[in-house]
């Protein structure tokens, strides 16, 4: 049995009276690629936000490589090795590729507090290495994000994960806004991560993509996990049945 990368127990998030996430128990093993599916508002993104420290959970525990973690913010999660590609791309349009990849955790030459001198060369080299690892080729990394296509932007966002040798990558609908070719580029990156044995959580609405890329599918419905399916033991229709509420996994009976 491989090592458990991430485990959540009873993870719960209420926004006032809205129970956005209720009692989520989840486990991810080393090298495993898991998809999270569900309708809009089913709690997928909420789940991710609790793990990555973007929001503070109401209840429950998150364990990362065996240690219980309480991230105060997304930077904490990043430092621990959880890298997230958000639905809304967290890129600054007027900066170039290395600037964006290192945004918020710049390499510096001298530490002078906020006036620390940037190590442009170090960031450039690390960026090129990261791009190589994800098999992304961006000919001119000094190009500003503003001048890039949607696919390129997404690749830059994903390249962050590789640059920082993250231990877990989470992607929130990485191809939702992309064209066919660009989607393929992103999927190739995901395959490269799989080949490298890097664990991944993928939130996606794209059934074909999910069946192409992941090992396991978790279905959320109305804030609860309602199914945990092995890709080989299920099919598209089956997953849809879980998403819409026609079916609920045996172990989750009574949950929703």
């Amino acid at each position: 049995m491989s090592e458990v990368v991430l485990k959540t127990e009873g993870l719960t998030k209420h926004y006032g009276g809205v129970h956005a996430l209720e009692d989520a128990n989840f486990e991810l093993l080393q090298g495993e690629h898991v998809a999270i599916m569900g309708d809009n508002g089913a709690g997928k993104s909420t789940f991710v936000r609790q793990i990555t420290g973007v929001e503070q959970r109401t209840r429950g525990t998150v364990t990362f490589f065996g240690d219980e973690v309480n991230f105060a913010g997304p930077l904490d999660a990043r430092e621990a090795g959880i890298e997230t590609v958000f639905q809304t791309l967290a890129l600054a349009d007027d900066l170039d590729v290395p600037d964006n990849i290192f945004l918020g955790r710049e390499k510096t030459l001298f530490n002078l507090g906020p006036f620390s001198i940037l190590d442009y060369r170090g960031m450039r080299e690390a960026t090129l290495e990261g791009l190589k690892k994800t098999a992304v080729k961006i000919p001119n990394i000094k190009n500003k994000i503003r001048n890039m296509s949607g696919g390129q932007r997404q690749c830059v966002a994903i390249a962050r994960t590789a640059t920082f040798h993250s231990k877990l990558t989470i992607m929130d609908e990485p191809t939702a806004a992309l064209g066919v070719q660009e989607t393929e580029q992103v999927e190739n990156i995901i395959r490269a991560l799989k080949a490298a044995g890097e664990p991944l959580i993928l939130i996606s609405h794209n059934m074909r993509q999910v069946f192409d890329l992941v090992d396991r599918i978790i279905v959320f419905r109305r804030g609860r996990i309602v199914a945990n399916l092995n890709k080989d033991e299920t099919d598209g229709q089956d997953v849809v049945a879980y998403i819409t509420g026609a079916k609920t996994g045996a172990e989750y009976e009574g949950a929703a």
Partner: protein
């Protein structure tokens, strides 16, 4: 762990459409050269002599704008961070009054000028007081904008009115004059230009090569992205406005030292001139773009226009009208650039 050999580069991204990107600073420089040529030609037509052939005139030209240039450096970084600062002119007024009252000599005609009793102090005291006043006003701006989410336009507009009030209240409207010789040195000869150059080079380096600069651009470019990347956006904004305030304070010191007096009405409309210099120099009002180099060029353009009109004996009324049109024109150019970018993207 699975096989970890480097995967073959399958995700090659097409960037065949390589475009030349024209930096806005270059536009400003071309504008400067164009305007210079126009004024030179007009000078020969109207006055039958060269406008730029006179070194003294060029010195005065730069001297006139370099004090506002110091403010413009602070305003530039505020605009790059996606904000605006309308209070810098009023901060100049308040700071000039307060700091000058710590810079007076003992033997001045007390009947006419305000007497505050602090005389013959070492020059460092008014300097520290001036910078601290500017920083304090900027700090209030920054805290209001960052933590109460009041739009920068409104927060700094309030500061503009209040700071002007402080300037008048300090001596109940009387001017403060007769600074010590050492204080007067701050504004003597070409010192203001020298101070501007030091500040401009310093902030050029800071914006380009430090974390502070990078975060300023990032916040102006995409505030949500900056926050998600772990940048403390609120704290950074406070710092940005505090620095802008400090630079306005510095400008007040230089201005009052140069005029050997401080009046409550000092620095009126300086904020708009400073904003105009930035925008003419290619700093985008929507944030994220621009540089100190551009602002410096914008400043020189301003200087050429003001001195040029004076040289051509154009009435001050017309000068103001034309200045207004130039400001609107520069913003229009910025809006046009934005639109073009939006279409390209």
């Amino acid at each position: 762990m699975a096989d970890t050999t480097t995967p073959t580069p399958t995700a090659v991204i097409d960037t065949s459409k390589k475009k030349r990107h024209w930096p806005p600073e270059l536009n400003a420089l071309i504008g400067l050269i164009g305007i210079a040529i126009i004024f030179e030609v007009l000078a020969w037509i109207v006055r039958d002599q060269s406008f730029f052939g006179n070194v003294t005139r060029l010195k005065i030209m730069i001297l006139q704008v370099s004090i506002i240039g110091i403010i413009a450096v602070g305003v530039t970084q505020v605009i790059i961070s996606g904000g605006i600062d309308l209070s810098s002119g009023a901060i100049v007024g308040a700071t000039a009054m307060i700091s000058m009252s710590f810079a007076q000599v003992g033997s001045y005609p007390k009947a006419v000028f305000a007497d505050l009793g602090w005389v013959d102090l070492p020059v460092i005291i008014p300097i520290v007081v001036g910078l601290a006043c500017g920083m304090f006003a900027g700090l209030i701006n920054g805290v209001l904008i960052a933590y109460t989410k009041i739009p920068p336009f409104i927060a700094t507009l309030g500061m503009m009115v209040s700071a002007r009030g402080v300037a008048k209240w300090w001596t109940t409207g009387k001017p403060v004059s007769f600074p010590t010789d050492s204080f007067a040195l701050l504004g003597k000869g070409m010192t203001p230009v020298f101070i501007f150059l030091v500040i401009a080079v310093l902030f050029y380096l800071i914006l380009k090569y430090t974390v502070y600069g990078k975060h300023t651009y990032a916040i102006g470019s995409n505030e949500d992205a900056a926050r998600m990347s772990g940048i403390n956006v609120e704290r950074h904004k406070v710092l940005v406005y505090t620095i802008a305030g400090a630079l306005a304070g510095l400008a007040a010191l230089v201005l009052s030292a140069r005029g050997l007096t401080a009046q409550a009405g000092m620095g009126v409309m300086y904020e708009l001139d400073a904003i105009a210099m930035s925008v003419i120099g290619g700093v985008s009002l929507s944030g994220g773009r621009g540089s100190i180099v551009g602002t410096a060029i914008g400043m020189v353009i301003f200087g050429v226009i003001i001195s040029g009109f004076t040289f051509l004996r154009v009435d001050a009324f017309y000068q103001e009208m034309i200045k207004g049109a130039i400001i609107v024109g520069a913003v229009a150019a910025d809006v046009y650039r934005q639109k073009r970018h939006a279409i390209e993207a």
